[in-house]
Every structure is written in structure tokens, then in C-alpha cells.
């Protein structure tokens, strides 16, 4: 058992290495460079540009630069941002809590909605509610998040003026304006109402995919023979579904959720941009436009590590739910 997880760890590190090489190359092939923005600036001479390039170490060949970068990363140094001059890690860590808050909240919402909706649809398959759920799910799978985000902003922020259009907190929000007993509730609501729209944007696709997956998985499980055994014991249909069928139907969903993680992160990048959410995704977009290689690489590696961790957790959960798994490896 220990050996199996050790092998997993080695492969995860290898994956990270390959991810870093590929992203490094892709950035290198992409047009533009960190000094592109000075191209039209008459005050910066070509000598200045040469100096900046040398200063940033961009005059060395790509492979050499990669190994310098790798060596530094292994020592925990992700370099300095070209834009701000501050350490990349500091920049990322400053943005990470906002991203984690949004993602964990969305993840919780996705699971909390997908599972009951999936069960409901499976139990009433081919009924009107089920058909409606399928229809909405197809919308959820096909609608791009930037479009959905803008639509939600238009409806809830512009037209109905119920929720803020972006940001993590209202800049002038002052909790001391509220009397002490309701203060925690006020702070909570302030955070929550900013979360609702971006989280909905991010969760819609997940809920759609996961509830449809659970639906079909549950319908498949209900046809299993051991469900008949459970009924033959005299268990009522609730226990049969919620204990015997769900337990087995949910296991493959865990893998699907794990595999969904990269798309989840990618969605977060766009969602953060639309809702001016001060997270890693927004930093990433800014870094891409500025060709801030160091920040791009830093975020890519940290995101990849989080995806791998997510997959790792889903594998552990899978083994917890399905007793047959640990013996397979």
C-alpha cells in the first residue's frame, strides 16, 4: 500500500516537471516579450532595451533559463515579478486566499446541488422535472462561463440591483457601522453576497455535469442485482436508494469530480476576471498580457500542484468508498 502511494508521489513530481517544461516552451513560442510594452515608447532607446533584457536574464538561451528557473524553484524561489518587482510567491500568496475562498465555496455549492438534483432526476426519470433538469444541464455544459457571468451581472447587478457586480468586498464596507449583536451576520452577508454571482457562474457547469453523471450512475446501480437483495430483505425504497444504491453510484462520481479539477481552475481564471475577483486567476490574466514570465510560471506550477492534489484526494476518497479498490493496486 505505502509503495503504491509512493509511486503516485513520484509520478506527481514528474508530471509537475513536464508541466513546467511545456509551459516554459509555450510561453517562449508565444509572440511578444516582457519588453514589448516599451516598443513604442520613444523615451526608451534600444540600448535601454538591451539593458533591461540583460537585467532580466532574457539574453540567455531558453534551455539555460529554464534550468536557472528550475534550480531556483527547487530552493523555493519563484523569482521576481517583472511587473512589480516583488517576489512571485508573495504576489501569489497574497491572491491565493481569495481564489481558495471562491473555489472552495463553489465546490461546496456544486456538490451540494449536484447530488440531490442527480438523485431527484434519477428517481423521476423521464418525468417532466427530469427532462427539464436535463435541458438545463445541457445549457450548463454548453454555456461558456464568461457569457453566463455577464448575463448574471446584467440580471442581478444591473437590472435587479440585488447583488454586487464584482469585487470581494465593498471598499467602504465598515462592520463597525452595525450594532455588535448583528455584526458577525453583517460581515458574513457582505462576504456571501459578493460570492454568490461568481460562485454561481463557476458552479453551474459543474452542477450540470455532475448531476447528469450521478443520474446515469444511479440508474445503472439501481439495476444491479444487489439492489434486489436489499429489497428482498424488506428495506423500504428510501433505504434501498440512499444506502445501497447511492453508496455505489457516488464512487465513480468522485473520479469524475477529480478529473474535472483542471477545468474548474480554468473556469476560475475567467470568472475572476469578469467579477474583478482579486484572486490568482486575475493575476494570471494580467501576467499573461504583460508577458510576466515569472508570474505565469509560478501560477501554472502552483495550479498544477493543486490539481494533482485534488486528484490524489479523489483517489483516496475512492478507496474509502469502494473497498475493492485498495486490493486492485
Amino acid at each position: 500500500m505505502k509503495k503504491k502511494w509512493l509511486i503516485r508521489l513520484v509520478f506527481s513530481v514528474l508530471t509537475l516537471l513536464i508541466v513546467s517544461i511545456l509551459s516554459f516552451m509555450i510561453i517562449e513560442f508565444a509572440p511578444g516579450s516582457p519588453i514589448s510594452r516599451y516598443a513604442d515608447n520613444p523615451k526608451i532607446t534600444s540600448a535601454d532595451r538591451e539593458r533591461i533584457i540583460r537585467h532580466l536574464g532574457l539574453d540567455k538561451p531558453t534551455s539555460v533559463r529554464y534550468f536557472i528557473w528550475l534550480k531556483n524553484v527547487l530552493r523555493g524561489d519563484f523569482g521576481l515579478s517583472y511587473m512589480t518587482g516583488r517576489p512571485v510567491l508573495t504576489e501569489i500568496l497574497a491572491r491565493l486566499p481569495a481564489t481558495l475562498k471562491l473555489m472552495l465555496f463553489s465546490f461546496f455549492i456544486s456538490v451540494a446541488f449536484a447530488i440531490p438534483i442527480g438523485i431527484y432526476a434519477a428517481m423521476r426519470r423521464n418525468s417532466l422535472p427530469d427532462v427539464l433538469i436535463s435541458f438545463i444541464s445541457y445549457l450548463g455544459i454548453s454555456l461558456p462561463s464568461f457569457w453566463l457571468g455577464l448575463l448574471l451581472i446584467y440580471i442581478f447587478a444591473v437590472k435587479l440591483q440585488l447583488l454586487p457586480a464584482g469585487g470581494q468586498l465593498t471598499p467602504w464596507f465598515d462592520s463597525s457601522a452595525f450594532p455588535l449583536p448583528v455584526r458577525p451576520a453583517a460581515v458574513f452577508w457582505e462576504h456571501l453576497r459578493h460570492l454568490l454571482l461568481p460562485a454561481a457562474t463557476l458552479s453551474f457547469g459543474n452542477i450540470a455535469r455532475w448531476c447528469q453523471y450521478l443520474r446515469s450512475s444511479l440508474l445503472e446501480t439501481i439495476n444491479e442485482n444487489y439492489i434486489r437483495t436489499a429489497r428482498a430483505k424488506g428495506l423500504n425504497s428510501r433505504t434501498v436508494v440512499y444506502k445501497h444504491a447511492l453508496r455505489n453510484a457516488i464512487t465513480p462520481l468522485i473520479t469524475v469530480i477529480g478529473l474535472n479539477m483542471p477545468a474548474f481552475f480554468a473556469g476560475a481564471v475567467i470568472t475572476e476576471q469578469i467579477f474583478s475577483w482579486p484572486g490568482m486567476g486575475q493575476l494570471f490574466i494580467t501576467a499573461v498580457f504583460a508577458r510576466d514570465y515569472q508570474v505565469i510560471m509560478g501560477i501554472t506550477i502552483i495550479t498544477a500542484a493543486m490539481v494533482l492534489l485534488g486528484n490524489f484526494l479523489s483517489d483516496i476518497l475512492y478507496a474509502v468508498f469502494d473497498p475493492r479498490v485498495e486490493y486492485r493496486g
Partner: protein
Amino acid sequence: MPEILLNVKNLRTVFLTSNSRITAVDGIDITIGKGEIVGLLGESGCGKTAVALSLMKLITPDEGAISADSMQFKGRELLLCSEEEMCRIRGKEMAIIFQEPMAYLNPAFTVGEQIAEAILVHSPMKKKEAWEKAVDLLKLVQIPGAVNCAAAFPHQLSGGMQQRVLIAMALACSPELLIADEPTTALDVTVQARIMELFRRLQQERGMSVLLITHDLALVAGIASQVYVMFAGMIMEKANTREILSEPLHPYTRELLLSLCYLEKQEQRPENLKSVKNISGIQPGCRFHRRCSGAMTICSKTVPPLVDFGRRSVRCWLYGKGVG
């Protein structure tokens, strides 16, 4: 004749597939007395399992439907019982053992949990108590190392062990009627004999009735008092075991007996004893006429009635329309 426990009249079971209706059970009468062991004999695909599922009303509306003139169990009409009432009967008064044990055990729970659950549904007690009872049941069905077995997951057990777990589960609440669908097919002969011995003991000690569903004539001969011979969804012959063995009336029963003799002599099965997997395209006339060596003209035209000779009955034109 002992007190009647189960009395089924004209049971029909229809399965729905995406584009057809399959009549798996086509008008069957079964009577089981209290403390009686009755055999239901037939080859695979003849609708035996459908009978078992129908008796417990375990066929879901998605799968198909059952109908009958009456299904009396302990004086109660099962056809009128709600699903809720059926839940109280299933497992407690009437239990079933399925074949293919691997598929019928939930892979996500230990077998001990699954047996304990069967106990807990009908008699509330502490979980630990139910667990101990589960271990006792495993001992009862001859499982060596019952304590370890209870803590094991189904995939960690052999096919024979799994089968015995299913038997233990069915016996959990001491049912009055045990429907055993090929209960010992996965077991080797010595264990099979012990399980049969256990059934007989439970029959004598607790007055348990058993409907033993099998293709194995030898198994039925050893334990059952009455035998129903089924073919393609219909009862072909019903008699007590001694009569079936000594004087089979229906050509199909004779063939079954003959095949048993052939098997004992290590010879080939008679050529025409191929299994009928598909009984959906039912032709007119006797279900058996295509395989019957003594088929007559009438056999391919009209289904013979089940002719009652008092203690036994047979469905064959050889015996005319009535009192033969």
C-alpha cells in the same frame, strides 16, 4: 395435507423490454403447505427465477408486471398488499436466496453488515447484538472462521462462501417460507449436502417451508415432498416426489429423468435436450411439442390443459382432457 401457507392461482409474469413483452410465467398454480419442502424443477430460461421474484413481488414496474387470480400467503392476499406491507413481509415471513451470489451482494459493505441489516430491519436491537447474530448465522451455514468472514467484503470471499452468506441472510429472521433459487449450484457436493440438511432441520424444528427452485432433479429428489416441473413458463407436471421418480407422466419429465441417468453413466446428454433460452416467440400448441419425441398433430395446435388426477396433475395430450 398440512395447513396451506402459500396458494397461488394463475400467476402470470410479463417482462417488458425496449421493444417486446416477454411472458416468462404463463398461468402457474402453486400450493405450498406449512412445513413442506416443494421443488420447482426446470431448465434455465424456463421462468423459475421469474416465479421466485413474482412470489415476493420483487419485479419493479419498469421491469414488468405480475398478475394472478389470487396469491394467498398465510391467509393474506399478497396482490392487495401495499409496497409498505410487502416490506414487512419480505425478509421476515418470506425470504429468498438468489443464485449468482457475487452479483447479489453489495460490494460496498461487509457481509456482516449486510446480514445484520437483514436482522435489524425487522427486529430492532443494538447493532452489536445484530452483528453477533450475523456471526451465529454464518456459523449455521457452515462457514469456517465466521468472525473473520463477517468482517470481510464480498469480493474477498470465494463463490461458495458468498452463496452461504446469502443463505445466512435469508435465514436471518427465521422466515416461514424460504424461496431458494438454485441455492447450492455454486457449492461443492459436501457443502451442498450440509445446506440441504440444514434446510431439513429448519423445516422440522421451526416448521419452515421451502420452495426449492433448481434444475437439479437429484437435489429435489433428496429433499422435496412435492415437485412441480416447469417448462417455458408453464407447469407441465405436478406430483409427489416418489411418483415423479417412479412414474413420470409427462414426456419432458421423462427426459429430465433420462438425462439424469445419462449423466450418471457419464454419457452424452440426449441430443434434443438443448436449452430454450428464448421463450418470447411462443408458438401455438404445447410448449414442449418441438422437442417431444411423441408429439401428435394436436400438440402443435392447442395447448393441453393441466389435467388433474387428484394427487397429481399433468399437462399433456397423452392423458386426454380429464379423469384419465
